[in-house]
């Protein structure tokens, strides 16, 4: 990879090849005019976005633009917040997410979520993975242990923890805990993974490991990742969307392929943000 010559004084940017290389772009999640209201305030307003299947889409923008709220609305985690109201439409593989009759538990099995601060349950490593599987119907012991092993191998934790599966998950390091949380989401075989700044609470070494893991998910899962770290977004994203606060609420400024957002943006605000001149 040759460094770009356009910004000689800053760190070398790697050129973005024409991505995605995974598939023919096919929208998996379609969001139409989505707005979120907390009581009187609006977290974000009138967001229309299509997320393509099997690709990694990065949501970027400064803090407070509603990126996390947007992510939480996709698996209806916003239902947990009293006074929260969503308007608009979200279609996930044809399923109307916001319809009252939609089975939220079924939805959340298809859409997994990773939080900024790793939150394994105060149980053993094995139980952390086994419990959600049991709750979703997998009871057979052998299949449980093989699913758990596969999940831990997928996140690169198997060799590190295979001898202490019954020890407390909270005794793991931050990076290991986050990988455990990813494994916990992956063993349920979701279609979509929502990640809210998954590396921001980790040290640089663990952050790199988790990032490599995320890149490895491309193709098998549709990944939506909120990140403050523009360099990270450039490294891993196929598509990107910029959020900004305008008129007192978060708004989607521009969305498109990573190459477009980071190199040939249409909006001046986008260009200003990605070059570090604003935000």
């Amino acid at each position: 990879m040759k460094p770009s010559t356009s910004t000689p004084d800053t760190q070398p940017w790697f050129p973005l090849e024409e991505r995605p290389i995974c598939c023919v772009p096919k929208p998996f999640i379609e969001v139409e005019q989505l707005s979120l209201h907390y009581g009187q305030t609006r977290a974000f307003h009138d967001v229309t976005l299509a997320i393509n299947q099997g690709c990694i889409t990065a949501l970027v923008g400064p803090s407070g633009c509603g990126k996390t709220s947007f992510l939480s609305s996709l698996n209806r985690l916003t239902d947990l917040i009293p006074g929260c109201r969503l308007s608009g439409r979200i279609r996930l593989d044809g399923l109307d997410v916001l319809a009252p009759q939609t089975d939220v538990i079924h939805l959340r099995r298809r859409v997994g979520m990773i939080f900024q601060k790793p939150n394994p349950f105060p149980l053993s490593i094995r139980k952390n993975l086994e419990f959600p599987l049991r709750e979703h119907g997998l009871r057979d012991r052998e299949r449980l242990s093989s699913t758990i092993e596969t999940g831990l191998r997928d996140v690169g934790l198997w060799d590190e923890v295979k001898d202490r599966l019954d020890s407390p998950a909270l005794a793991l390091s931050g990076g290991q805990q986050q990988r455990l949380c990813i494994a916990r989401a992956l063993v349920l075989s979701p279609d979509v993974l929502l990640m809210d700044e998954p590396c921001s609470a980790l040290d640089p070494l663990s952050s790199g490991v988790v990032e490599d893991l995320i890149v490895g998910l491309r193709g098998r899962y549709t990944v939506l990742i909120v990140t403050h770290n523009l360099a990270q977004a450039r490294r891993i994203a196929d598509y990107a969307a910029l959020f900004w606060v305008q008129n007192g609420a978060g708004e989607l400024i521009e969305a498109g392929t990573a190459k477009q957002i980071f190199e040939n943006s249409r909006e001046p605000l986008t260009a200003a943000y990605v070059s570090g001149m604003r935000g």
């Binding site: 089975d103 538990i105 709750e135 979703h136 119907g137």
Partner: protein, 287 residues
């Protein structure tokens, strides 16, 4: 397969939900039954005369005037002794000892054990120590001192919390200004920790007023108006006990006395709650 799974899961959820609601309903019903009963039978006998007149005919008639006075005196002795000792101990534990300090740890352990001592055992101790050994006999003083022992752990814990809630910045700035520890304590920390102290005080009063077993053998049974602290006096809780167990036909006045005691305690506990929520919260926010 998905359908049976969902039905299974829904069935378990429904069962859990039903059990939880039944538990809540049972608790609520018991409470209403109990309080309703007391209110129903007691309200008709409450009057100003009842609250001020002396008991007559072994308490079947008349009122609870002297009893209220005795109760107040016992409380007064209890607080008068436990507040200085309690606040002093709390200050020492919060401000002058570290976690490793042996004296601090021993004191704390000892207070923990004290808070677990059954009240009747405290009554035994009070009887042996205050009434017999110190020669105070059955008196308000003995009763108050015994109750002070009971109330100390609660008071100390709450006051300590009050001190711990004061931000470290206060102490650091005072030290940087060259103020003595005493000045810092008296002028800065004590006023800021007053909410915790008050909460502890009120809780202590509540505990003391509810107490019966510790008083039976220390403050005595006499239901006349006490003339001095060395006189025997009957506390309100004891009066209810006596009327219901030893005086046939005393139920009516027992109900009324119980209502008075319950109302007083609700007021006291309500004040403690309000203080803890309102004042402590405000203190922390405004700093």
């Amino acid at each position: 397969m998905v359908n049976t799974l969902e039905r299974h899961r829904d069935g378990r959820e429904w069962l859990a939900s039903t059990l939880v609601w039944i538990a809540a309903a049972l608790v609520t019903a018991t409470f209403c039954w109990l309080l309703g009963d007391i209110l129903w039978h007691g309200l008709s006998h409450i009057s100003w005369t009842f609250l001020t007149a002396p008991p007559q005919n072994a308490g079947r008639e008349g009122g609870i005037g002297p009893i209220l006075v005795s109760t107040a005196l016992i409380l007064g002795v209890c607080l008068g002794v436990s507040v200085p000792i309690g606040v002093g101990t709390a200050i020492l534990l919060a401000e002058f000892t570290t976690d490793a300090n042996l004296f601090g740890r021993l004191t704390r352990r000892s207070l923990d054990v004290l808070s677990g001592v059954p009240s009747i055992v405290l009554g035994l101790f009070g009887n042996a120590f205050f009434c017999k050994t110190l020669g105070l006999g059955f008196s308000i003083l003995s009763g108050g001192l015994t109750l002070a022992c009971m109330v100390l752990p609660v008071l100390i814990r709450s006051t300590e919390e009050g001190f711990r809630a004061v931000p470290t910045g206060y102490r650091l700035s005072a030290a940087a200004l060259g103020l003595s520890r005493t000045t810092t304590l008296v002028h800065l920390l004590l006023p800021a920790a007053v909410p915790g102290l008050l909460v502890g005080l009120v809780l202590g009063v509540g505990r003391a007023m509810a107490e019966t077993a510790a008083l039976i053998f220390t403050s005595g049974y006499v239901d006349r108006m006490p003339e001095s602290l060395l006189d025997s006096g009957r506390a309100l809780s004891l009066h209810i006990f006596d009327l219901s167990m030893n005086v046939p036909g005393g139920d009516a006045n027992a109900y009324a006395s119980a209502l008075v005691l319950v109302v007083l305690l609700f007021a006291i506990n309500g004040t403690a709650s309000w203080l803890a929520g309102h004042w402590l919260h405000r203190r922390i926010v405004t700093i």
